[in-house]
């Protein structure tokens, strides 16, 4: 069975600084996708970034980038120049051939002004 592990329940970052959120996963499939979703207090889940397992290049979306280590089954999210609006719960998620998303437990990120 696929599992996604986010071991840090909470993190805090100073505004304008950089923070990295960790995620590991386990799967026996070779073709899959990984995602980071953001869920602000309003609860709307928003896709932040996605990574295809077959791509070696790390995905980047503006201030958000990932460090994808396929052999280590690690998928961390780096947020640069943190903003107050980045405060939210962040979920790491995996999907494979069945298109079913498996989520981690999430991490609560707070941003200090």
């Amino acid at each position: 069975a696929q599992t996604v592990t986010q071991s840090q329940p909470e993190m805090s970052v100073q505004e304008a600084e950089t923070v990295t959120l960790s995620c590991t996963y386990d799967t026996s499939e070779s073709d899959y996708y990984l995602f980071w979703y953001k869920q602000p207090p309003s609860r709307q889940m928003i896709l932040v970034i996605r990574q295809e397992a077959y791509k070696q290049q790390n995905a980047t979306e503006n201030r958000f980038s990932v460090n994808f280590q396929k052999a280590a089954k690690s998928f961390s999210l780096k947020i640069s120049d943190s903003q107050l609006g980045d405060a939210a719960m962040y979920f790491c998620a995996w999907t494979g051939a069945n298109s079913k998303l498996t989520f981690g437990k999430g991490i609560t990120l707070s941003v200090r002004p």
């Binding site: 996708y33 995602f35 709307q44 928003i46 896709l47 979920f91 298109s99 079913k100 437990k105």
Partner: protein, 115 residues
């Protein structure tokens, strides 16, 4: 493009009552998902539809939960009778097609409180 719509946003009921949630996916999205998100946890898939057929309902407590997507568009999720442990946010999501672009787009959710 309109997003995934859900209603109601909030619902409070007493245990043993019934409740229904409604979801309208993004136009053209063939796959629809219902998730249960208990406070402080990640969403857990309850059921996945491809058009109006069920693809996966292995995590749906079928003794009390039911879901349908009759015309392959909007969907309803029902709980009857509700238990205290059903208190959660129920999220609906949709994606273009199974096996295609895998991004799922989520609705705002329905927060259910069972007293």
């Amino acid at each position: 493009e309109a997003g995934v719509a859900q209603s109601p946003r909030y619902k409070i009921i007493e245990k043993r009552q019934s409740v229904a949630f409604w979801c309208n996916p993004i136009s053209g999205h063939a796959t629809l998902y219902w998730y249960q998100q208990i406070l402080g946890q990640g969403p857990k898939l309850l059921i996945q539809f491809q058009n109006n057929g069920v693809v996966d309902d292995s995590q749906l407590p079928k003794d009390r939960f039911s879901a349908e997507r009759l015309k392959g568009v909007d969907s309803t999720l029902k709980i009857q009778p509700a238990k205290l442990e059903d208190s959660a946010v129920y999220l609906c999501a949709s994606s273009r097609m199974r096996g295609g672009s895998p991004e799922q787009f989520f609705g705002p959710g329905t927060r259910l409180t069972v007293l």
